[in-house]
Symmetry: C2
Subunit: 443 residues, 2 copies
């Protein structure tokens, strides 16, 4: 903040600028309050939120590059939002998307080009915003679920708790891959180890799980040992390019975002090397409908190098090796809900986070979580779950109905109702006995 | 056929050539019998089929371009297959695929290039093989289901009849699009009208169905009139590029194959023009895992201009307009089963087909149906069902479970069991009342 500037009287020009910006993003029902108390609104009717801009340099930066500087200024407290942050973001995102649609193809191309140009400028200062993988386990423990799963959950019932939904996600993923006891699985990017341990525990498979984060690998190894699963689950601190061995299945949740489109062929080559002749796998990745668009602020300040692929870009990891796409599901509303859970827990732990870091960090992460929830709920981000197999593998289930068979999902998914208490292991037995007929091969 | 050549003694060179071809396609357990009775096999052990080649020019053509000339020579009777045709084709396809995989990337590239080169040579004679859309309704009536559906069916139970599976497919497609009474649907490529009438009958929607085939359109109109549905279903004889109006949903089954990749953007532009702000749609299309490969013979002799896209190519109809891919399912084994049903019925009607056309036509269509069944069952062809919507539409079902809810599928899918007899209309009421909770929007 430049104290000499804050407090100046706003001029006509500033008000005119704010009006222009509000119109450019489609006149959302919000009001901007400038440093001297003057208010600008572009829409009539009731207002949803008030945005306070505390000084003129902030306004000018916002106009030069709103996408980047809104986040920075919000983190610093130079911008404040009065009203519900999620509702405010949802309204602005939807207004911007509508404005983009109205803009026509030429203007859209121009905005894509501008977006592209920004992408290649130097990264800028990242001071004071700790990067994801330096932050440490204690921070995530404050607001993730018990199992420390840091990827989108699955809510077969929207009222589920986050814990239930993360278990449901892991079970859903295992069932999609139709894992069978004794099979071998390689996991690419295993986080704190929850899925690897889940697969070994409930589906009787052996797992090699790769991760480049030392702290996560360490944590996961300790958990495996404590649970007595370290003979079946191996956590390896290494890059995906160095994965060796042959496996029956490959799984990767929320990791491909960090690989970068230009390395997708390398990623696919690794899958081709690692999967046996009847191999199959599942990739869960944040994506988008069209290449190119993404949040500059999140990319620079929160997730350096992250990029959500479009379906076309995603195909680069499958097609060169003739992998067959079996089932691709878009679960964006489930990720929106996951993020709302995370945000709620984060807010409850805000004091502890502030003690651990500082107020700026709290505000930045609040915006990141709320902004991501909004991106998923308004459809500017997607969550793709892509199931694939080697070409010509016919040991496929005949339909997807077994994924939704309630008799096989009691253990994890349903809240204990009707007095049926099944163990966590019910997944395996139900899977291996039920619906065999449906899973017959054609030939 | 050159009668002067047939009957010559085969020389060492011919036998050597046949041996080379058998080794090149991976030594399948088959035996080739030359015109003078000499036999060549590349594999030890029991043989699956014997291939009779009746003259030397046929062998030479086969060696120059097996993909094209096998079909021609089989149709002419210059090649015969002793043994089960489907089993023979399955074995050869799998052997060829394995050989291709073993070939390594360089050789694969070379074979793709050769394939590409052939693609652009002049089309060659099509005499005596009638093209799909000239053949007429009487021919298809001989071997399609009662409703005359000429696209892959859906077998929730593999033992279903073809009639049941085609109804199940139509119901599945409607449920995937979550059609509601009173909505408007545009169909692109409506065949003989079965789906359009089904949607109006069971889901209470109005339909405009486009088709460039005069005979099909005529047939469909008569059916609509006979059923009293012509106030709700309009069959229009026109090109997809001329579709006008705004609709709630768009559906197209087995039509995109004929559009050609270079026109996908035009197809997408049409979808963008026709779909309302909350629009969604479903495309069913034969596809492949990798661009480029396809059967030359089928393309030239059976389906001129047809091309099965890879997922990457398919994305061209969605991404430029920011359509959001919601669910893509690969149903190739269902198409394999559909084709086996068609082949079986075709064989039963072979005498009538012969009377209608000639023996060459019967043999060509037998090979086309058996070859297609094999391409799907061995995984060299895929069947993609892609559900999409405008970006940001949240009126989506929360999960896919309603697609597999047996209480909503009795009418069409299950063989009358347990004494519950529901009308064909059960689809609508079940859809509109059941599982409302699951279909709530997030916001």
């Amino acid at each position: 903040m430049s104290p000499g500037v804050a407090g100046n009287r706003s001029d006509r020009f500033s008000r005119w600028l704010v009006g222009r910006v509000l119109r450019a993003i489609g006149c959302p029902p919000i009001c901007v309050v400038l440093w001297d108390g003057q208010q600008v609104a572009a829409a009539d009717g009731p207002l949803l939120a008030r945005v306070l801009i505390h000084d003129r340099p902030t306004l000018l930066k916002l106009i030069l590059n709103a996408e980047l500087h809104f986040g920075d200024a919000y983190s610093d407290g130079r911008i404040e939002v009065q009203g519900d942050l999620l509702e405010f973001l949802e309204t602005v995102y939807r207004a911007m998307a509508a404005a983009r649609r109205r803009a026509g193809p030429l203007k859209r191309k121009l905005s894509q080009w501008i977006n592209r140009r920004h992408r290649n400028t130097p990264r800028g200062a990242r001071a004071n915003i700790h990067h994801h993988y330096d932050i440490g386990n204690d921070f995530y423990r404050l607001w993730l679920d018990d199992e420390m799963v840091y990827s989108g959950a699955y809510f077969p019932d929207p009222e589920m708790t986050l814990e239930q939904a993360q278990l449901a996600k892991m079970d859903y993923v295992c069932r999609k891959m139709w894992l069978k006891p004794g099979e071998s699985v390689v996991e690419v990017g295993g986080g704190w180890g929850a899925l690897a341990l889940f697969m070994a525990r409930h589906y009787g498979v052996t797992v090699k799980s790769y991760n480049i984060s030392h702290r996560q690998t360490d944590y996961a190894r300790q958990k495996a040992k404590a649970e007595g699963l370290d003979d079946r689950v191996e956590f390896i601190e290494d890059d995906y390019r160095n994965i060796s061995g042959r496996f029956d299945a490959l799984v990767s949740l929320g990791m491909l975002e960090h690989v970068g489109v230009s390395h997708y062929r390398q990623f696919g080559a690794m899958m081709d090397r690692c999967l046996g002749p009847a191999g199959r796998g599942l990739i869960q990745v944040i994506g988008q409908n069209q290449p190119g668009r993404r949040s500059l602020w999140i990319e620079r300040r929160i997730f350096p190098g992250a990029y959500p692929p479009s379906p076309r870009q995603l195909a680069d990891i499958f097609e060169p090796w003739e992998f067959s796409l079996l089932d691709m599901e878009n679960l964006r509303l489930h990720y929106a809900r996951t993020l709302r859970h995370w945000l709620e827990r984060f807010e409850s732990a805000a004091g502890a986070v502030r003690d651990m870091f500082d107020e700026r960090f709290v505000r930045a992460w609040r915006l990141y979580l709320a902004g991501s929830a909004t991106a998923f709920s308004t459809g500017s981000l997607q969550l793709f779950q892509a199931l694939f197999a080697r070409a010509g593998v016919n040991r496929l289930p005949w339909t997807r109905s077994r994924l939704y068979d309630p008799t096989a999902t009691k253990g994890e998914r349903r809240k204990g109702e009707g007095g049926v208490r099944t163990s966590r292991l019910s997944g395996i037995s139900a899977f291996s006995t039920a619906k065999r007929a449906q899973e017959n091969e054609l030939q």
